[in-house]
């Protein structure tokens, strides 16, 4: 499976790839792209509020930096998941490295969504901040960004929990939960502002 730069694909092609019968790109890639879209919305809100909010440009810069980090994870996740599936199919085959190789692939497949969840939490926090400080006309967009980021974080945290290599008491479970909860709390704050 070759590398894919999602920034170079047309939106229709991205959606078609997600909808195709292949198992990747799947939920992790979709979560990464959702967080990236949310980060873009935060940047828009922060930039539009520049006149009344001196920190706006700095918040936009942070949102774009996170977006730059999270987009490549859509491809990284798809590739990691693909390799984990291949290893799962070959489980028990001694020529392919056996259980050790499977464990290694599953570890990687868990690490990527964990990072996506963390970035989703950060975007949700930025969106909540933007919602509190931006001009009134953009409150709804900030809340939408927070909800999307929280959705991405939640989906990614779910994928960490579903990973076969992650067992009860695993530190990654705790971190995924912390990120998910932080993102949901931030989204709740942002949504409360427009109710």
């Amino acid at each position: 499976m070759g590398e894919t730069n999602y920034l170079e694909l047309r939106l229709g092609d991205v959606l078609a790839r997600i909808a195709a019968s292949d198992q990747s790109p799947g939920g992790g890639s979709a979560a990464a792209l959702t967080v990236a879209v949310a980060a873009g919305l935060v940047a828009m809100v922060a930039r539009c509020s520049h006149g009344s909010w001196s920190e706006g440009p700095g918040v936009a810069a942070q949102a774009l930096a996170i977006q730059e980090r999270v987009v490549p994870l859509a491809d990284t996740d798809a590739r990691a998941w693909d390799e984990a599936l291949t290893a799962l199919r070959n489980a028990g085959d001694t020529d392919s490295g056996g259980d050790f190789e499977l464990e290694r692939k599953l570890e990687l497949a868990a690490a990527v969504p964990l990072e996506i969840a963390q970035l989703g939490a950060d975007v949700a926090a930025l969106a909540a901040l933007a919602g509190e400080r931006c001009e009134g006309a953009y409150h709804a967009d900030a809340a939408a960004a927070a909800a999307l980021a929280a959705g991405g974080a939640r989906a990614a945290a779910h994928l960490v929990r579903a990973n076969l290599a992650v067992r009860d008491g695993d530190e990654r479970l705790r971190r995924a939960h912390v990120s998910e909860q932080a993102a949901l709390d931030a989204a709740e704050r942002a949504l409360r502002l427009i109710r």
Partner: protein, 186 residues
């Protein structure tokens, strides 16, 4: 060396003109990454060629420093010298192995990006330590707000705002910087 590293570019040049050997070492150290970046990233020179450019550029700086009219303009002057040496090197390589690839706008774009990157680096060095730390952790080390909060023992809800304020200071520093307009008499 610590004292020299805090000197302005103009101050360092003045010390070099006065024949201070340590100042020369500090000047090479201050601009070595810049020269190396121009040759490797801007002109895509390989290791040995980049080394040759490095040697030639600093030899010219040493022998021609007296031609620099504005001491504060040492950086654009070194950039100009480096470009000339790189172009000569590329031209020499083409005579040996013609590739047909022109030195075009792409190089200029890369050099402009490098200039901006080094300007940001300098401005960053002038910010308070806590700002340097915040911006480095977030933008260079890609740390999350939670990690920064935990490492610096700061409330997590304040991290994004603190980074934004530091970015504002960085922007103010960059916009307030004077751009040396005079180069050398060359």
């Amino acid at each position: 060396m610590a004292e020299l590293s805090s000197l302005t570019d103009a101050g360092l040049v003045q010390r070099c003109r006065a024949g201070d050997d340590e100042a020369w070492n500090a000047l090479v150290e201050r601009f070595s990454r810049y020269v190396y970046a121009i040759s490797t990233q801007g002109f895509r020179l390989s290791g040995p060629d980049a080394e040759d450019v490095f040697q030639e550029v600093f030899t010219r700086v040493y022998t021609r420093l007296h031609t620099l009219r504005n001491d504060a303009a040492i950086r654009p002057w070194i950039a100009q010298l480096t470009r000339r040496v790189c172009i000569d090197t590329v031209a020499a390589r083409k005579r040996e192995q013609p590739t047909g690839e022109p030195i075009g706008e792409e190089v200029e774009d890369v050099l402009q990006e490098l200039d901006e990157a080094f300007a940001v680096r300098e401005a960053l060095a002038g910010l308070p330590d806590h700002c340097q730390e915040m911006l480095d952790r977030f933008f260079t080390r890609d740390e999350s707000y939670r990690t920064i909060s935990s490492e610096l023992d700061l409330p997590m809800g304040t991290i994004a705002s603190r980074i934004a304020r530091c970015l504002t200071r960085l922007r103010d520093t960059l916009e307030g910087r004077s751009s040396p307009s005079e180069g050398s008499r060359e």
